[in-house]
């Protein structure tokens, strides 16, 4: 694998979408290529940083209680056939 192939697979690997064999080939390449190793590390750190800092826990205890109460009045499975109606244009 050369640098071009390694970078082509960059986001598939970072996003956990690459196959086992692709991951193995990338791993072999970045062991001997400092530049690609640095890029992979940066993109992985970036993704983790966004997840950690961009994720907040909304306060929704009240909403949860409200919904739980409303479930009492609903017959599960009463929705019919049209779960995903197409947009009304």
């Amino acid at each position: 694998m050369n640098c071009r192939d390694a970078l082509r697979l960059l986001f598939d690997v970072v996003d956990n979408e690459a196959s086992e064999s692709e991951i193995k080939k990338v791993r072999e390449h970045i062991q001997s290529c400092e530049k690609c190793a640095a890029r992979y590390e940066m993109e992985q750190k970036f993704k983790k940083c966004i997840e950690k800092k961009g994720k907040f826990s909304p306060e929704c205890e009240k909403l949860r209680d409200k919904i739980t109460q409303q479930l009492d009045d609903i017959d599960p499975g009463s929705g019919g056939a049209d779960l995903f109606p197409s947009p009304l244009n």
């Binding site: 750190k45 966004i50 997840e51 929704c60 599960p76 995903f84």
Partner: protein, 193 residues
Amino acid sequence: MADRKPIVYRQRFEKEAMVHIDALMRTARRMTKSDTDAEDLVQETMLKAYRFFDKFEEGTNCKAWLFKIMTNIFINNYRSKSKAPQSLTFDDIDDSFLFGQLAKNKEMSDPEKEFFSKIFDKDVRKAIDELPEDFRMVVILSFIEGFAYQEIADITDLQIGTVKSRLHRGRKLLQKALFDYARRSGFIKEPLN
């Protein structure tokens, strides 16, 4: 055979669906940009999901199923009908912009470490919120909620190739925005070139 007794549905729904209210709420707030609309959207989503819970295939990803229901309701009822398709191009940002900028910073000993440890939570959230809507959704579903490309394609009704290209551009825009925030906050110095 699934047991069709309401009490069993109720228990399964509370165990498998109700646990995702936080994630739905987090994303609904970003979709609607309003706390009240977000609560209404999540409520409508959960009640609809319960009514259709017999359609949920056991063993599949319940969180993805709920997000698809929510996205569908949002598109039909909340999003402004006049929304024009976005045809902006962002190809002026280099693919390795952030990497290049951080690597160029020779006067700092470890600019990458500085960048990732010091960037503010509020700036990360603001940068996400300010992404154009099409990119924002896929970025949130991937980076924040951890869905796979195929799951995002199912939730948003997009082709997987479109998901990948929007995610790619979204990531670039996010990196550019965060680098600008970092520079403005002063913990990343302007590279001398």
